[in-house]
Symmetry: C2
Subunit: 327 residues, 2 copies
C-alpha cells in the first residue's frame, strides 16, 4: 500500500516532534519540511525528506497528501492557517481557546473552497482534554468539570518572566495543588479559586548585579500572570538552568464529578504525564493527520475539530481489527 | 423542540438505570418500558410512561425514536438484538468481547434492512474503555496498553460462587493490585501475570451447617474463575450481606504507557470510580441513544460501534456551543 505523503510547516519543537512521531507511524512518509529560514541551515533526521521554502509551498500541493502546521497560535496561524488550508489537507494545534470559533470559520471557508480538509486545535488542550470534557459531560450531564494543568512548563508565563528587567533567563512551572486534586478525586465537588487550583514556581537566572528582591516582587505582583496565584521564585545560575530545566515535561488532569439519577456519585478522571510536551502534542497531530487524509479521500472537505471525527479514523489499523482487538 | 421518544426493553438494574439517566436528560422523554413480566407487576418512576409487553413491541415502532436494550449478553441479546434492531433505532451494552464481531454483523444486517441505526456495546468496557484504548494507542503507537478493573462486583464470579454446594449467597469483588497500578503509572511497562494484576475477594453466606473450609477450597481452586488469582474468602451472615454488599460499585483504569520518537516516556491514564455500575453504564447508553437517533435522522443506518461516532453526536448541546465552551 502506498504511504501517506506528509509535510511539516515550521521546524521548531513541535515540528521536530512531528518528524519524530512520523518515524513511529509506518503508514506515513515525510516528504518535506517547509521553513521560513534558509533551507541550508536545517538538518533533518529523516533520510530523503527535503527542506523547502515556505513561500514555495504552493508548488508542491499535488505531491503532499497532508501537512502538520506547526506555527504559533498568536503570530503565525491566524494568517498562515487559511493560506495553507487552501493548498493542503492539514492539521494544526491552534490553542487560543477564545479565538477558536472565528479561526474555525476562516479555516472551514478556505478548505471547503479548495476541496481540502483541515482539522484544527489538535494536541492535548485543546485536543484530547476537550474530547474528554465532551465525552464525560455527555455521560454525566449532572456534574462538574475540573481541569488541572501540570506539572509543566508554561511558555507564556516563562516569557512574561523573561521580559522583566534584570532577568537573563527564566522558566515557569505550573503545578496542580495536591489537596485540590484529592478533593475532586474524592467526589467532593469543591468550589476552587484560581489560587486553590495551581501554584506557580519560577526558576530565574538574574543578570549580573540585578536586584533579586525586586525581581521576585515584580513576578509575584504581575497582573493576569501571577497576582492570583501563590508563586515561588528560585534564583539559579545559567549552568543550573541548562542542566535541570531543558526538558519540556507537562501533563494535567480532566475530571468529571457527577451524580447519576439514583443519587450515586460517579467520577471520571483522565490524566497525562508527559516527559515531552511537544513530542506528545505531535503524536496527537499525526493521528489527526491520518484522519484528515482519510476524510478528504471520502470527499469530506472543510474545517473540522476533534469533536467531529469518528475515532477509528485516527488509527493505522483497520476498523474490523480495532473492533476485534480493542472493543 | 420536540423530545426524543425513548423506550427501555428490560427493567432490571440497567433498565432502571436508563430510566434514571433519562430523567437527567431533558431532551428525552421516556414513553414506555417493554417487559416479559406481567406489566401490572412493574411500577415505573416516570410519570406518564407505560409498561408494555415485549411481544407487542412491533406495534409501537412508529411511536418510539430510539430504545435502550437492557438484556443480558449471554441469554437475551443474541436473539433479541437483531429482532429489535429491525424495529427501532437502538443501543445495547453487549459485553461478550470475543463475540462482538459476529454480533455486529447480524445487527448491521438487521438494522440496515429496516433503515434503522443500532449502536452496540456501549457502556464502559466495552465502551468508554475501548474508546480510550483506541485513542491513546493511535497517539502513542509505540507503547503498551494496561486495563485494570475494580474495585467492583463481578456478576459472573459472584454467580460462580453462589453455584457451589453449601453457599446460600455470595458476592465477589475484583480489586486491582496497588503495586501493579503504581508500576504502570511510573512508566515501568511491567510484564504482569494475571495474579499480579488483580486480587479477588469473596463474601459468602454459608448454608446452615455447611463445611466452610471446603467451600473456601472449592472457590480458590475453581478453574478459569479463581485458580489463577490470589483469592480471599470471608464468611458473613445474610444480614451483613444485606447491609454491606447491596451497592454495585465498580470502576477501573486504562493506561497507555508509551515512548515517543525522541525517546521520551509518555503516560495516558483514564479511570472510573463508580458508586453505581448500572447507573453509569446507563448514562453512557443514553448518550449513545442520542447519537443513534441523530445518525438515523441523517440517513446513516446499520450497525455502529463506539468507534464510529463523532463525539459531538453524544451531547445535548449544539456543536457550535461545544466548540465554544469545551474545545
Amino acid at each position: 500500500m502506498s504511504k501517506i505523503r506528509a509535510a511539516i510547516v515550521g521546524y521548531g519543537n513541535i515540528g521536530k516532534g512531528v518528524e519524530a512521531a512520523l518515524s513511529q507511524n509506518p503508514d506515513f512518509e515525510l516528504k518535506a519540511v517547509f521553513t521560513r529560514r534558509e533551507p541550508d541551515t536545517l538538518t533533518l533526521k529523516t533520510p530523503g525528506a527535503r527542506v523547502l521554502r515556505e513561500q514555495d509551498a504552493h508548488l508542491y500541493k499535488d505531491e503532499i497528501d497532508v501537512i502538520a502546521l506547526c506555527g504559533g497560535s498568536n503570530d503565525d496561524l491566524p494568517t498562515q492557517g487559511p493560506k495553507m488550508a487552501a493548498l493542503f489537507n492539514m492539521v494544526d494545534s491552534f490553542d487560543t481557546h477564545a479565538a477558536i470559533p472565528g479561526y474555525l470559520a476562516k479555516m472551514d471557508a478556505a478548505a471547503r473552497q479548495a476541496g481540502r480538509t483541515a482539522i484544527i486545535s489538535t494536541g492535548w488542550d485543546p485536543g484530547l482534554f476537550s474530547m474528554l470534557r465532551l465525552l464525560s459531560g455527555a455521560v454525566l450531564p449532572v456534574g462538574e468539570d475540573y481541569t488541572f494543568w501540570g506539572k509543566g512548563v508554561s511558555q507564556g508565563h516563562s516569557s512574561a518572566v523573561r521580559s522583566l528587567p534584570g532577568v537573563k533567563d527564566a522558566v515557569q512551572y505550573t503545578i496542580p495543588v495536591e489537596a485540590a486534586l484529592q478533593a475532586v478525586r474524592a467526589g467532593e465537588q469543591p468550589n476552587l479559586t484560581t489560587r486553590e487550583k495551581h501554584i506557580r514556581v519560577c526558576y530565574v537566572v538574574p543578570e549580573e548585579g540585578a536586584d533579586t528582591a525586586r525581581i521576585e516582587q515584580d513576578i509575584k505582583t504581575m497582573k493576569n500572570y501571577f497576582d492570583a496565584y501563590d508563586t515561588t521564585v528560585h534564583f539559579i545560575t545559567q549552568e543550573q538552568m541548562r542542566q535541570d530545566h531543558a526538558a519540556m515535561p507537562h501533563g494535567g488532569f480532566v475530571f468529571r464529578s457527577g451524580v447519576t439519577g439514583g443519587g450515586h456519585r460517579q467520577i471520571v478522571e483522565f490524566s497525562l504525564k508527559l516527559a515531552s510536551n511537544p513530542e506528545f502534542t505531535a503524536g496527537v497531530m499525526v493521528a489527526f493527520m491520518r484522519a484528515a487524509y482519510r476524510l478528504n479521500k471520502e470527499g469530506q472537505t472543510g474545517g473540522r475539530t476533534v469533536f467531529d471525527i469518528p475515532l477509528y479514523y485516527l488509527s493505522a489499523a483497520e476498523r474490523d481489527s480495532l473492533i476485534k482487538e480493542l472493543l
